[in-house]
């Protein structure tokens, strides 16, 4: 949502001035065609000119985010202004700067206004590589710089390729109704659903598992259930409102929504305990793995939680409470109180929502959780060596036995985690393996797919399991 929000307020990204290359950078004809024409014109006197292609199209989703485009555009335009150039924003997301080269032997800038390497167009690629290193770790992939005198054909070929592609819609426009005001409306609407009886349709459960090591022997199943997490599916709630991606995109609005949903979750579980219904967390008995519930600090400090803890004691339930890292940082005093409440109730604390970037920026283990859930990112196997070492050091400090690799939705996630010594996983890839095992053992599985089996396992109320 942040992306869409920013798009809504972004200044119109069209060139109005005429650059040294004699054409408007964007306008009728499309930027790709105008780039091609400008490249051909530049070929008449290529000496002292250069081209820089900023490959924003190479950023993995959700990139390039609007702020990537906005800041990149500002930097390129500033450079163009200083070096008699112009900027082209292409349909695939790439940006191209055509400009004069910095004179040789110019002294380095003396003022920090030039800190972003605006004094030398050739240095812009290094600047952008530094800014984008989280989103595109390989600095060589961020930009290509061509001297027009030596590499004009390369630029012309690149522009021709973009022209050829330009008939295709490569960067989908932001969907309507995704601005900040609409996000607030969506969050309000989901909160309203949470107050109604149909909210149970959106409850889901997911297993966390332990991958058995080789010494366990062949007779032991490879995945041992560790816990079952109960939550509301935000994706399903968004789908209900045809507002995919809007509720969870603004982290602050989402935290507010999480509190509203938590209150409902605690009330529903408390009301159902001991009834034998689908939401009766006591029905499956003490032999089942512990239950994980993710709560906001406000929910942990509410009367509803006191009631919930009483039920856990009454039925002898093993429960762990997950708290998002951002919650802990939002109100340290409340986090301290909540930790005290959990300790008094004998409930372990699980720190959730820890990205690998959080491991680079902070030491979340200093918050002393019993378990830490690290979010999987496809970037993890490709980190630069320094960052890879930092992540490895952080995992060693925390202890692999206290880490769950969360959102392990792909085989790559499991492979990376196991290579780091992690054995605890939660995610859709785990769900698929478990479902495959169930299908093999189930006498009624004829015609079932893995996906169907996963959906049935995730559903909490019978209506979803049908």
């Amino acid at each position: 949502m942040q992306q869409r929000q920013a798009v809504a307020v972004q200044p119109v990204e069209t060139e109005t001035g005429l650059g040294a290359f004699g054409a408007r950078a964007e306008g009728c004809g499309g930027p790709e065609r105008l780039l091609l024409e400008a490249a051909r014109r530049a070929g008449r006197s290529p000496q002292g000119h250069m081209a820089l292609v900023l490959h924003l199209s190479r950023l993995a989703p959700p990139g390039p985010r609007p702020h990537h485009r906005r800041i990149a555009r500002a930097i390129l335009e500033d450079t163009a202004l200083r070096h008699d150039g112009q900027v082209f924003t292409l349909g695939n997301g790439d940006m191209v700067l055509l400009c004069g080269m910095a004179p040789q032997g110019r002294p380095p800038p003396t003022h920090p206004v030039h800190g972003l390497a605006l004094s030398d167009p050739a240095a812009v690629s290094a600047t952008m590589a530094a800014l984008l290193r989280v989103d595109l770790p390989d600095p060589a992939a961020v930009a290509t710089v061509w001297s027009l005198q030596e590499s004009l054909p390369a630029l012309t070929a690149y522009a021709a390729e973009r022209v050829a592609e330009s008939g295709l819609a490569m960067v989908p426009p932001a969907p309507p109704g995704a601005g900040p005001a609409e996000q607030t409306v969506v969050v309000g609407a989901i909160a309203a659903i949470a107050e109604g009886p149909a909210v149970t349709d959106f409850m889901r459960r997911q297993a966390g598992v332990l991958v058995a090591d080789r010494s366990a022997g062949l007779a032991r199943p490879p995945l041992l259930p560790l816990y079952r997490e109960l939550s509301f599916s935000i994706a399903a709630l968004e789908a209900q409102l045809a507002a995919t991606g809007q509720a969870a995109a603004d982290p602050f609005l989402f935290r507010h929504l999480a509190f509203r949903l938590d209150q409902r979750m605690l009330a529903l579980l408390a009301d159902a305990a001991g009834t034998g219904g689908p939401l009766d967390i006591a029905a499956s008995g003490r032999a089942t793995p512990p239950l994980h519930i993710n709560l906001t600090l406000a929910a942990i400090l509410s009367d509803g939680f006191v009631r919930f803890v009483g039920l856990c004691r009454r039925f002898g339930l093993a429960v762990r409470i997950e708290v998002a890292l951002v919650e802990a940082c939002g109100d340290a005093a409340a986090f301290g109180h909540a930790r005290g409440v959990l300790a008094d109730a004998g409930l372990p604390l699980v720190l959730d929502g820890v990205s690998y970037l959080a491991l680079l920026l902070a030491q979340p283990d200093a918050l002393c959780p019993d378990l830490l859930k690290l979010d999987w990112s496809p970037v993890l196997p490709d980190l630069r060596s320094e960052e890879r070492q930092q992540v490895a050091a952080a995992l060693a400090r925390i202890g692999p036995d206290r880490v769950v690799l969360h959102h392990a939705d792909t085989e790559a996630a499991l492979c990376w985690g196991m290579a780091q010594g992690l054995r605890r996983f939660q995610g859709r890839h785990v769900d698929a393996i478990l479902a495959a095992g169930r299908i093999l053992a189930c006498p009624l599985a004829a015609g079932c797919t893995v996906r169907h089996c996963m959906e049935r396992a995730a559903a909490v109320v019978p209506a979803c399991a049908a």
Partner: protein, 394 residues
């Protein structure tokens, strides 16, 4: 003061109006002739009614007695019960004693009393003439004409929390609202070896409490902390737009801003950055909140490197004693850390070394106790009523 107390109500009111006129004349004279004076504005009108009884006011006024011995000291009682003391030259000890006494008076009254920096303003003339003249004008207004955001007794707090529809309405109202008058400044000062404080930069911020009291007086604006955080983004953009206005920063000295990560990456910031005078480049401090950093670390790292490349200094706030170990300043890659003084912070093990103490700003340094704690931990940068700068800007 004592003679005033013995007069009749109407005579006393006349004398207060006369005081307001005298203060206005004095302030204008300082501006016209460039005369330097120090001033302390004690906004007793902001107290809730049950703390504004005659004996409360009398005690609060007498707390300023130490300042009455300063050179050319004059006290002015304004018609709305606000008090202004004006004097010549530096009187740091007397000022600190007076501030400590006032805060001590209301120490046990909890949240019903306004924040210290809403109750007490240490000012300098002629620079802060506008603030004093505004206080005079407010004090002369009939009660019903006073801006409710400023006149509402702090003790009567709205109880309905902000919810998404109210937030959306407030954000829409903010687009058109004139928020310039809600701009407030706080001074960050460096403690010099001789004990004086030197101004380093002024933090500029919109008073959210006053804006909310004006636009949504029936809502408790901070009761839903995450919706409040979201609201600050909208306010950031208004603030940046204000600062980007022509001439706004022409005579500005070094200053600081609270901003969200998303705001640094907004079109409004780019316009502000373009409007920033060259002389201020490298002189602007951006304060970032820890929760905002953690909420979107990728955007934070991008914004951090971009802002630093443009010459901004970056400060991390929202870190408490409990979070110090989890969020080392150097690891986050920011320049300064703001710690808010509190009883909890004061209980931090005295023998424990504060990491990067020379990069720490101790805020809410309103008392001698806070200063002493800061000194003990090697802190030199302060914001608060006990750290009023008296010398030339650093």
């Amino acid at each position: 003061m004592s003679s005033l107390a013995q007069r009749g109500p109407s005579e006393e009111a006349q004398e207060m109006h006369a005081d307001a006129e005298r203060l206005r004349t004095l302030v204008r004279g300082c501006v016209t002739a460039g005369i330097a004076r120090q001033a302390l504005l004690l906004r007793l009108s902001r107290l809730p009614e049950d703390l504004k009884r005659p004996h409360h006011l009398r005690l609060a006024r007498s707390a300023l007695d130490p300042l009455s011995f300063a050179d050319r000291a004059r006290m002015f009682r304004l018609p709305n019960d606000d008090v202004v003391m004006v004097w010549r030259g530096d009187a740091p000890e007397a000022l600190r004693t007076s501030l400590d006494t006032v805060l001590h008076l209301f120490a046990d009254t909890g949240e019903r009393v306004p924040e210290p920096d809403a109750l007490l303003h240490a000012l300098r003339l002629p620079e802060d003439a506008g603030t004093l003249l505004q206080a005079v004008e407010e004090s002369l207004l009939p009660l019903e004409d006073v801006d409710p955001g400023k006149a509402a007794p702090v003790g009567i707090a709205p109880t309905d929390p902000l919810d998404p529809p109210a937030l959306a309405a407030l954000e829409a109202a903010l687009v058109q609202a004139d928020v310039a008058r809600f701009m407030r400044r706080r001074q960050i000062a460096e403690r010099l070896p001789e004990g004086r404080f030197r101004l380093l930069w002024e933090k500029r911020a919109l008073s959210v409490a006053e804006i909310a009291a004006t636009l949504v007086p029936d809502r408790a604006i901070r009761a839903e902390p995450w919706l409040f955080r979201r609201l600050t983004r909208t306010l950031d953009r208004r603030m940046l737009a204000l600062l980007a206005a022509p001439q706004e920063l022409r005579d500005a000295g070094p200053f600081g801003l609270n901003l969200n990560v998303a705001s640094i990456l907004s079109p409004e910031f780019l316009r502000f950055d373009n409007a920033l005078p060259l002389v201020l480049r490298g002189q602007v401090v951006i304060d970032l909140l820890l929760a905002d950093v953690v909420a979107d670390p990728a955007a934070f790292m991008f914004a951090r490197d971009f802002a630093r490349g443009r010459g901004y200094l970056l400060l991390l706030r929202g870190v408490t004693a409990d979070l110090l170990d989890a969020f080392p300043l150097r690891r986050i890659g920011l320049d300064l850390l703001q710690l808010r003084f509190s009883p909890e912070l004061a209980r931090l093990d005295a023998g424990r070394m504060l990491p990067d103490a020379d990069h720490v700003v101790l805020s809410r340094a309103d008392t001698g106790t806070a200063l002493a704690w800061g000194r003990r931990h090697g802190i030199n940068l302060y914001q608060g009523l006990a750290a009023v700068p008296t010398g030339p800007r650093g």
